[in-house]
């Protein structure tokens, strides 16, 4: 695998994470528990889709085969999507959406902070813009974790259930293979293994303030990065890709 191929693959993975989670959050539009939160979730959705656009654009450029960001976003098959399993999980109730977001934001916060120092200038520039958005997402999801966890009996129970359910998708955030090894060597991306201790500490801090805890039984799910997904992604893509499939080449 060349450095160029590895960079393309990495960009695709991260763009897919943002696109799929952004799409999931957009499903809340008009369904938020309160107007303010409806807007907050769709704001975050738009941030994520904006990030995906930048990453796909750069990926298309790196690939150099004449594909555009739209081709990458809309015209691949399920197994060609490389997002982690966490982001494709259904929204569930508001608490579950927040837990999913919280785990993801904690990871993104550390990853993109490191990426601002990437030796790849284009990627560093994207990261410098993105990290500000991510910090707000993290603040938003963390504050809700605390309020729901340390809220009423019912909110506590429901959000703890979601923590139990989604914790099995945490380890895979730190998935590494040849792609990562090449890029770490080149100083383009950080070695996420080295971010794990800080990640665990940051998660713990919020969870303990929220009177929540990670489950002991924590059988980890793999897949995602290798293009193997849970049954939920296919349905999501059907909706996401509908317009481009029904009206090929359609533009705004």
């Amino acid at each position: 695998m060349t450095k160029q191929e590895a960079l393309f693959e990495f960009l695709l993975r991260k763009a897919d994470d943002s696109l799929i989670l952004g799409h999931r959050l957009s499903e809340w539009c008009g369904h938020g528990p309160i107007l303010e939160e409806d807007i907050a979730l769709t704001n975050i959705a738009l941030d994520l889709i904006g990030q995906a656009t930048e990453l796909y654009k750069y990926a298309a450029e790196v690939e150099g085969k004449g594909r555009t960001e739209d081709d990458l976003a809309f015209l691949r098959l399920e197994k060609e999507y490389k997002n982690v399993l966490l982001v494709e999980q259904p929204n569930g109730d508001f608490g579950k959406t927040i837990v999913r977001q919280f785990f993801f934001d904690q990871f993104e916060n550390l990853l993109f902070q490191s990426l601002t120092e990437s030796k790849d200038e284009h990627l560093a520039a994207i990261a410098s813009k993105t990290i500000l958005e991510i910090r707000y997402h993290l603040k938003h999801s963390s504050e809700w974790m605390i309020r729901l966890g340390d809220g009423t009996e019912e909110s506590h129970e429901r959000v703890q259930d979601s923590v139990n359910d989604l914790a099995r998708f945490i380890d895979v955030l730190f998935f590494q293979d040849e792609v990562d090894e090449i890029l770490i060597q080149e100083g383009i991306i950080p070695d996420v293994k080295k971010l794990r201790a800080e990640f665990d500490k940051n998660i713990d801090e919020v969870l303990s303030e929220a009177t929540l805890h990670l489950p002991k039984e924590n059988w980890q799910r793999e897949g995602g990065r290798k293009g193997i997904h849970s049954e939920h992604l296919g349905y999501l893509l059907t909706e996401l890709q509908y317009m481009q499939r029904a009206y090929p080449g359609m533009e705004w």
Binding site: I34, E36, E37, I39, A40, N43, Y136, K139, H140, R147
Partner: protein, 95 residues
């Protein structure tokens, strides 16, 4: 009012150009920190502001509309309070 409802907050935003915070509307939030977050999402998504104030609506003391007469009417007949009788030299362009 249902006592489970979150308190109402009045939101003030200072725009990039403006010197003072201006009232922009109100929203509900469980506490002051969330009120700031909500205000950020509801009222600054088009780059409207650089600073946010939130005040509990119940802490705002308002003038009584039925006293509008005694409060505001007396000022109406005192046009000399508006500095409109001065001639501004042409050289001064921005007044």
């Amino acid at each position: 009012m249902n006592n489970k409802e979150w308190p109402l907050w009045e939101i003030f935003i200072r725009s990039k150009q403006g010197l003072s915070h201006k009232h922009v509307g109100s929203l509900r939030a469980p506490d002051e920190e969330m009120a700031i977050n909500n205000a950020r999402d509801v009222y600054t998504r088009r780059s409207e502001g650089v600073s946010i104030w939130v005040v509990k609506s119940s802490d705002v003391i308002a003038s009584d509309p039925s006293e509008a007469g005694p409060l505001f009417e007396p000022a109406n007949s005192k046009i000399y309070r508006h500095p409109t009788f001065y001639e501004v030299p042409k050289e001064i362009k921005h007044m």
